[in-house]
């Protein structure tokens, strides 16, 4: 379905994840983050960028992988995206919800 985020028409699925990464912009990310109760700061962007790059390379994302990325450690990841970091960060990054259990 289509919706308007930050004044832009974007396509999302029923869980509120963007279905096309081309719809993503920093403004869209900021609005999505606000919905998740997160105010994006400088430290958030490298993590979002990392997630997008991994997604483009079709890597299955996991907390363990993020922790080993060198971009952020696990404690930092939970601190940046409290209450479910992987699924929230993925939504803000405009990539699909990870199906990982780890």
């Amino acid at each position: 379905m289509e919706t308007t985020i930050a004044g832009k028409t974007v396509k999302i699925n029923d869980q509120g994840y963007l279905t096309d990464l081309n719809d993503w912009s920093r403004e869209v990310a900021t609005a999505l983050a606000e919905e998740e109760g997160i105010t994006l700061k400088d430290e958030h962007w490298p993590v979002l960028e990392y997630l997008q790059n991994e997604h483009k390379q079709e890597t299955a994302l996991s907390i363990r992988k993020v922790g080993k990325s060198g971009v952020v450690d696990i404690k930092g990841f939970y601190a940046l995206f409290p209450g479910g970091p992987l699924k929230k960060a993925s939504r803000i990054a405009g990539i699909p919800k990870p199906a990982s259990c780890i």
Partner: protein, 170 residues
């Protein structure tokens, strides 16, 4: 007495969400240990609080000396689909465990020691059972640093207070 006007609010009925998982690990077979850790980690990934109480044989999973030597049971475990007599041969447990570990690594499941570090970093609280510690003549220094404290079962129950907390025995 002053009466307050009550504002009638529409009662919104939302399904109660799980807030906290209190897991009790009493076994040291590697499959049980992983089940417990994955449940705890999975809870944190969904924004649910999680704590683990290591008791009885479960303490093996947090003992520095034993942590990398946990095995899957090849005897008395029908799911292994090997005859009991074969399962009892020397080295069978280690062999089956290695096979399992290889498969798990493929799925990005960390080894037990690293998993404990991940749990701690994710905000999972880890507790050791006092009675079981006494029974196995263990001391705090025998356990990994990630264990917060040695507590009693009563202490653990108190930590389970609050709505939508679930206890699970493994």
């Amino acid at each position: 007495m002053e009466t307050q006007e009550l504002k009638q609010e529409a009662i919104k009925v939302e399904p109660a969400k799980v807030k906290k998982m209190m897991l009790i690990l009493s076994k040291a077979t590697i499959d049980n240990v992983y089940a417990c850790f994955i449940l705890a980690n999975g809870a944190r990934m969904e924004g649910i609080e999680a704590e683990i109480f290591f008791t009885f044989f479960g303490l093996e999973a947090v003992q520095k000396e034993k942590i990398e030597h946990l095995h899957v049971a090849t005897v008395g475990n029908p799911a292994m689909h090997i005859p009991t007599l074969l399962g009892g041969l020397p080295g069978m447990e280690a062999f089956a465990t290695n096979m399992m570990k290889k498969e798990m690594e493929k799925l990005d499941i960390p080894p037990v020691g690293e998993f404990i570090e991940i749990l701690e970093a994710s905000g999972v609280k880890l507790w050791a059972c006092k009675l079981a510690m006494d029974m196995f003549h263990l001391e705090r220094k025998d356990l990994v640093d990630e264990i917060s404290e040695v507590i009693t079962v009563g202490d653990f129950y108190h930590r389970a207070e609050g709505d939508n907390t679930h206890l699970m025995f493994i």
